[in-house]
Symmetry: C2
Subunit: 248 residues, 2 copies
């Protein structure tokens, strides 16, 4: 069963290679999209190469809608995007994937049905297909080089959908095994080093000793250490002292 | 020659298939990145399959640095990201591609050298490799499904770099062939329809006529029409009148 998450449908128009249909399904499902529509696939339907390539996303192919024409595939949609690599001389707004998926989110939230069309591998959508769209999506690539395949276009659009529709966690520190050192533990470590390094004659010449100690304290407090880190530093110093004592 | 645009280096660690190295080069160059480093490629170097797959981005392979170890590849870098699909139980910040490339931009602007590591196809980076990184990048995929290949990981990261580093045009309307209708042209059109539709008995019953006219005016002004659109509407109405006259 498809998920019940409101989302745009991705419409593959006259796709050629089964592998690319499977790759597109995988790209979509990576970002939680599972509504695929397929118009006139060159090699018929179902397609075993598509199934093989889709692997874990095969469910999308099972539930994909198959259509004889672009018009039928878009029948129930109130807003349609066409992905194209270049302008078409048509009077139509052209959006970045980011802006397009932001609009898609707004429209879907307002109850609209949104579709995104992707053209066949070699030549992309025909102007006749693009004319059926309300707006164009163009990926902001290097002006000197455009070489995105079908699954990659689907991937970037699906990625932007997820970025726009799900609260993305932009930053976290894994808490597994993380047991931050407390201030007193860092303090004890600083003292340990200060004492041993003092005995070792590290703080030299004497008039520089104070500022060297301050710098060292600064260094410890700048590092965010776990208890394990602190223990490791204690161990290093103890070992150096043991080694020194063996040399005597 | 590589471009002189400041940018992160992308480091492919022990890549297996030549095709994926070529695909990664293409993915990078789509978004204007051309600094690739390769550590211990399984099938040696140079690799003809990589060259064949890279097509227009072959230049990146010609200039790619080849290294015997991750340590050597990262030698001159002051900040290193590792891309991984999952947490590693290491105490290290984990960023979305978006946040990571924002940080990369800031660090590069401040003169730092930044690298992003990508692991081998099958298993990804070893924990030993990840331990050399200052931070982790994890793509915010569907928690139920992760299936991004090497070139796709490179693609999404490169896309985010471009999003963060270049002013993206999020919205435009192509001006090719676009010649907006002036207010007077729209007014003439409205009058044309009002007159003919009046003759045709469209505004009925009489007590509704005014509000029907207002609604029609509203419709014309809501549509943003080109001169060609206006001419087409004039043509439609003229043709309907001709057709009606032939029927008489």
């Amino acid at each position: 069963m498809p998920t019940d998450v409101p989302q745009p449908s991705f419409v593959l128009v006259r796709p050629q290679m089964g592998e690319n249909i499977g790759g597109a399904a995988r790209a979509m499902w990576n970002f939680g999209l599972d509504r695929m529509r397929i118009v006139e696939p060159r090699d018929g339907w179902p397609n075993q190469r598509a199934v093989a390539m889709a692997s874990g996303a095969g469910r999308l192919l099972d539930h994909a809608g198959l259509y004889d024409s672009v018009a039928e595939a878009l029948d129930d949609c109130s807003f349609v995007f066409a992905t194209t690599a270049r302008g078409r001389g048509l009077t139509k707004p052209i959006y970045s994937p980011e802006k397009a998926m932001e609009l898609a989110r707004e429209k879907i939230a307002a109850g609209e049905k949104v579709a995104v069309m992707f053209g066949p591998e070699r030549a992309g959508l025909e102007n006749e297909d693009v004319a059926r769209a309300n707006a164009i999506i163009t990926v902001p690539v290097n002006p000197e080089f455009f070489s995105l395949n079908l699954a990659q276009c689907v991937l970037l659009t699906a990625y932007e959908w997820r970025r726009q529709s799900v609260e993305i966690e932009h930053e976290r520190v894994e808490l597994v095994k993380t047991d931050w050192a407390s201030a007193i533990e860092v303090e004890k470590l600083a003292e340990h080093y200060e004492d041993r390094l003092g005995e070792a004659g590290f703080f030299f010449p004497p008039e520089k000793a104070e500022s060297m100690k301050v710098n060292l304290r600064n260094l410890w407090s700048r590092m965010r250490m776990t208890r394990a880190d602190v223990q490791m530093f204690h161990g290093i110093m103890r070992q150096m002292v043991r080694w020194k004592n063996r040399q005597d």
